[in-house]
């Protein structure tokens, strides 16, 4: 059993879409989980549907939604205070040291983050790379395992199949509740995934696309 799991993603809702089924599974087993959330999604384009936020009020909405989502998942939340869409321009070294200091305090047995260069959004790639760098700098005696999540269209082709495949069907309701806690984003993101289904059937869209969560165990050389 894991001792403590730390999830490191840049945006409020990355945890919901990316790993909330896995997080729910860990919480069900009694494992403590901490989410280190990089930004408040200040530059998000989804403003709710119908629109209820604007560029200046969006961070406040997304902060409240993030807190609510973490309550749904029953996890600890720490906000890292970076700004949306700028993480790749920050010093990789500084972010890695920042993350390392938190990881050394928590001493998790597992870290979940994005797979650098296979996570589509520049913030995902940059924070994933910084998280892996942070773990790499830790003393091997306390170094946690890293599960990296790849979502690029080419990841299977380039990386092979992920070695961790979590069937999260038993925790699907929890995952949906977590996604829906991100009210300003849920409709827009799920709607964007819609291929053939009506836009309003969010649960059907989510089940089709989000029934399993997959990760690659990072190999430190």
């Amino acid at each position: 059993m894991e001792k403590h799991v730390v999830v490191i993603y840049p945006h409020p809702d990355d945890e919901a879409f990316g790993a909330s089924g896995t997080i729910a599974k860990f919480r069900h087993e009694g494992v403590p989980v901490t989410y280190l959330c990089g930004t408040l999604g200040e530059m998000g384009r989804n403003m709710g549907n119908p629109t209820f936020a604007n560029r200046e009020t969006l961070p406040e909405f997304r902060k409240k939604e993030l807190v609510a989502a973490c309550q749904v998942l029953d996890i600890e939340l720490r906000m890292l205070g970076y700004r949306d869409k700028t993480i790749e321009f920050e010093s990789r070294d500084e972010i890695a040291e920042h993350l390392k200091s938190i990881l050394e305090e928590i001493e998790p047995s597992l870290v979940i983050t994005h797979y650098p260069d296979h996570a589509v959004h520049p913030d995902h790639n940059a924070l994933g790379a910084a998280a892996i760098e942070a773990v790499k700098r830790m003393d091997t005696s306390i170094r946690p395992t890293v599960w990296a999540q790849a979502i690029s269209r080419t990841h299977q082709e380039e990386l092979g199949s992920p070695d961790i495949v979590q069937d999260i069907t038993p925790f699907f309701q929890k995952k949906m509740a977590t996604i829906l806690a991100h009210e300003s984003q849920a409709q827009g993101v799920l709607g964007g995934m819609n291929n053939n289904m009506p836009n309003d059937d969010l649960e059907a869209i989510a089940k089709e696309r989000l029934g399993s969560e997959q990760f690659y165990t990072w190999k430190f050389s």
Binding site: T51, R55, E56, G192
Partner: protein, 117 residues
């Protein structure tokens, strides 16, 4: 935000004439544009808290796509595709254009005080 009413926005633009203002200008089609459509390119630009003084401002256009241009001593700022606006509680002029799904595509915002980091 409300649908733009040209005269009201023009009045607000004029209220900032010859004052030092802070401008947020942004356009984006989202970081996932080419992920969901391999024919698409990701494009975007933003500048936050550009400090300037404009001596002329005009809003032009029709109900779905207004353009706003600001003329400074040595240059211009403009945005296209604006459709919504509001003056918020800090007296800032917020203007934006959204796509059919309500996603922000363009924003032009003017304030006498800096926008939050």
């Amino acid at each position: 935000m409300e649908a733009i009413v040209t005269e009201q926005v023009q009045d607000k633009l004029d209220s900032f004439l010859n004052k030092q203002v802070y401008v947020h200008l942004e356009t984006t089609n989202g970081a996932y544009a080419s992920h969901f459509d391999d024919q698409a390119y990701n494009v975007g630009a933003f500048i936050r808290n550009a400090k300037l003084i404009y001596k002329q401002a005009r809003i032009v256009g029709t109900e779905t796509a207004y353009r706003v241009g600001l003329k400074t001593d040595i240059g211009w700022v403009y945005a296209e595709g604006l459709s919504s606006w509001e003056v918020d509680e800090k007296k800032r002029l917020l203007m934006a254009g959204h796509d059919r799904e309500g996603r922000l595509m363009v924003a032009l915002q003017i304030s006498e005080t800096p926008f939050n980091y």
